[in-house]
Symmetry: D2
Subunit: 348 residues, 4 copies
């Protein structure tokens, strides 16, 4: 049994992480860190956990004292908050493993953090030590690494959809246009007009067109995958559901595809070893992935327009955050990759 | 490993049952019976189960042939459908155990089935062999019995709330008024105007006032519990959520309660051995029980009115149907009562 | 054309009031007062009004300067806020008419304001000048009065349902139990955990059992209507819809009703002159009253229990707030009572 | 007062049409035709209309007898149903005006009806007489015409967004990708799994990728507007709201736009005479157009990608169906174009 700690467990991604880890057979949650609820039962802060855990919230100082007994720390904090904490953690315990669910180590250049997130790292060396990892695409990056930058929810849904197309050199990509729909939990748990019930219910909206922060990590990863794709058009939308993301990716092509080219087959082969990726025969409904760590992909080649359209759906809190973090932990720890990630079917 | 069979797995209660049983460590689902989908993969009929099971739907005839290898059969069928099938099952296999999630064996008198459900049993002997069982209230009934009539969702939420009050002889009950709110899955999966999205979303309604079928089983069980309560006023409402029931029970009293009487303490003691019943300090939100087998009770004594008000919340598909059925199975099979019923926390 | 002013137009009731008054043929909105948005276009503060009005928000000081040109002032403010403003308004303009949509003048005794709302009036004389008025029940109170305390949403739905029963001396009421379901706009527009989308969507909850503030005005009005009803049991619930209230009122009886007694007929006669009150033949759906000033009542006598059950539905922002305020204004101003209150049918 | 008739008033678009026309000062609804409800009060069929109208449903035969007293007929029927009825109507009354809200006259070629809708017209002459008309784009087509093919909801939202861009010859369009989100009323009122509450609530899905029927009319109108755009990529999605459409249109460009080019200004000028089209400064929320006849457009030029992104939102039942039909009627009848189309503001 390994000892893990969660910093920032009261947000939606953090709660999901606690939920998954409480059932994970190889690990034990040693501490839940929440500076604003120190001493309280976690299940009193988040009522849903009554009966599931009797852990109490601890402070960061409590953690620093016991850090040498800890094997791995998850952080699920707003951007700009985790980098200082991590600096301190790894100074005390050189062997500790870190998985950051926030954005603080997703980019490569300090200047990009300034541009997109309006903060800079003091310790730029640390940035390089973190590996950005969607397991199905980047498992190999984790060899000899202890630090993981867990990807954002939109990028996960989008990169998983584009990767098989890029992998086929016969498909000459022209432009990539991505429209994504996200549930409201994606905007966090803090109350505001923009997530209050009456403003959301019965409505929907596009937001942050052309300037959403997740563009930075999408662009960076696309450049690694292909020299030909510089950037994408990314338009996120908020829709009135609690959880889930649908990304609809349209790829315009420079060449016509052979009428025989079987796009679904390409996708199936690309992900043949990945149990969490499902290639669907029909347009899938979002509720097919909710409360799972799966990503369902539906690729479609439109002869009429010579475009490829791919539907990619994930649960933003699981495959888009806490589930993927646990999947990454499983790799770091040499557990079976789906350990703790096969949930009971929930519907409706 | 015991072999079980589910008849009627494509409805919402049936799906929930499959979901729970797929994770139950002591049993194996041997067959899923659906006459309208014979031969199809269950996961093609209900897409959400893709990756979770590769069982195919079988016919009733298939079941009759293999019934001697089966230990227990669950039925989740519309009322009037299960009694004939059960007659046949138990003729072939005398030792088989049966749990009927439908209404066909919940009442004691054949005339009541005619009055409330508009059908009659041919084999009236069989009615007596079935035990109506909410485990927390009726475990003892299951000794030496193989056949269980699994209670309805509304009655479960209501009877669990009233039982502790009845148990205290110092509380003289006058009248009981129950208002319940139910999610839409309670009305079944067949499409109709009354469960279509645009008619439900943004609306709510009371229905079947004074004549809801569940009144029959509530009345019958109340009579067994107390000579003083003849009937209740029961007004169910449909609200725009997928799953869950809130029952708000007001009990008017003939005597004033001692100012010191601690209602919450009475409830806590009454359910001190029952891990699925939680007594809440505050009015609970329905989402605290969704996707659990719990019943959360919030009892409140109102000095101003001399009434007791009890809030009782359950997940209609779990504690109100499939979860309770598995809990009953665990008792029949001598497993630990909560086996397979501790689910991961899901929120939001 | 009369000149009216609205103080507190950015809340949901205030917005609804602006919406109705912009279409009212006899009045003109002269000013919209919002101290936090002085100088801004109202349609920039509340985007939905773009194209509907080019009024700008003014300050209270602006109003005091022009108060002599104003015929009537509506206030839609949190409790405790309107009484001081009103004191000042009526000192400057003795003839001005006032309709307060808040709670500050709904009760008769200063001590009740302290008990239920935790504030006291300095000018207790003023309390007596305000008339609490649900038009269908209290029109006569408005003769020679210029000041109206507009009733709360829950009390409107409940009192309209009980009044016909009280009016029939052959019905001997024992106890009254009321369960109400309210949309989220009833809890106001300020963001909080308790009205954030993910906490509300898919959930529901009872709250303020036995101590909701609206109990004070319900009790007070019931005492005026009947010496026999001292109080009611009132349990409000929040459900995931934007607008609307369902009140389910159970009245236990001391005598059995004649089997011939036609409850619906009693209700129809009682409200025969009231075009906004509809007596339904069936249990109505809440969406039948949304976006109308109607109250639909469904009375039901249950022979089995000897109880009366009444379903009462209103739109909380219209008949429960702004619509009723305009109805009251129409009476004060001697306009036809339904002027400006016949809206287009909206569904779904 | 002109006499109009509505055929097919019980669907959602039909109900909306009745709602609008009941308040239109220049017309009178003479008959509501519904063969399946002949003789019934319309307000008994659609309860929401209680108190709003006491019209009864008539049969088509009733209409044929009185057709010479009728000035204009609206049809809101499933595709393939209106063309025969119209043939008969115009044979009897040569002067009658017709507005078809269905698809039966939206295309130019009989072969296209066969290809996209699987039916053919017997009277091909009639096809030519019908004018496809989004008033803001095609008013001129209505001169000397009596027959209008009212556009589909998706095409209305999309064509209004693209037209200003096409109008500017300095913008060289490469490809057009459109993702649309629609409320559930768009899929009609007939109950089915795909519009039942539990399947929709908490979910969302893309559907009919590359083959949605509305593509046919979009393509046809685009060809008329520009020789350069052959087709678009159109991916519609269903989201869990009752009404409204968001279309997100990405236009890739062949040339870079001048950094000074003011896209919003272009849109404002293009629609300077059109009161229903609003150019927004920010990304608009769908609820800003719900229950209005407006289309809100938010054009955005993304320097990073050299793409134009346009958000276009409408109420699918009003600007996307019944409201636009009345707007078209106003033009045919020489009424002011916004007569009967300025609704009270409704929010939330």
């Amino acid at each position: 049994m390994k000892n893990i700690v969660i910093i920032g467990a009261t947000g939606y991604a953090g709660q999901q992480l606690v939920s998954i880890l409480l059932k994970h057979k190889h690990i034990r949650i040693s501490m839940i860190i929440s500076n604003s609820h120190v001493g309280k039962l976690f299940s009193d802060v988040i009522g849903k956990f009554r009966g599931a855990t009797d852990l109490r919230c601890s402070s960061l100082d409590d953690l620093y004292k016991k850090i040498n007994d800890i094997d791995l720390v998850f952080l699920a904090l707003p951007h700009g908050k985790s980098n200082k904490i991590i600096n301190k953690l790894i100074q005390i315990n050189k062997k500790i493993k870190i998985i950051d669910l926030g954005a603080d180590f997703r980019l490569e250049k300090n200047s990009d953090f300034l541009k997109w997130y309006n903060f800079t790292h003091e310790n730029t060396n640390l940035i390089k030590k973190f590996k950005y990892c969607i397991p199905e695409l980047h498992r190999d990056r984790l060899r000899n690494s202890n630090y993981i930058a867990n990807p954002g929810c939109y990028p996960t849904s989008i990169l998983l959809a584009i990767a098989p197309v890029i992998s086929n050199k016969n498909i000459l990509i022209d432009k990539v246009i991505c429209n994504s729909l996200s549930g409201v939990s994606g905007s966090g748990r803090n109350p505001s007009y923009s997530n209050s019930f009456c403003e959301i219910n019965g409505s929907a909206k596009a937001y942050s067109i052309g300037e959403h922060r997740h563009l930075s990590e999408i662009d960076q990863q696309l450049k690694i995958m292909s020299k030909n794709i510089k950037t994408i058009q990314f338009t996120p939308h908020l829709i009135p559901i609690n959880r889930g993301i649908i990304s609809t990716i349209t790829i315009t092509l420079k060449n016509e595809l052979d009428i025989d080219s079987n796009l679904k087959e390409l996708f199936r082969e690309f992900y043949s070893d990945d149990s969490f990726i499902k290639i669907s025969q029909n347009e899938p409904s979002l509720n097919e992935v909710c409360n799972t760590n799966n990503c369902i992909l539906y690729p479609y080649y439109d002869k009429r327009t010579n475009n490829i359209v791919i539907i990619s759906i994930i649960d933003n809190l699981i495959k888009g955050a806490a589930g993927q973090a646990v999947q990454n932990m499983n790799i770091l720890m040499n557990y079976k990759e789906n350990t703790g990630l096969k949930f009971p079917v929930i519907f409706p």
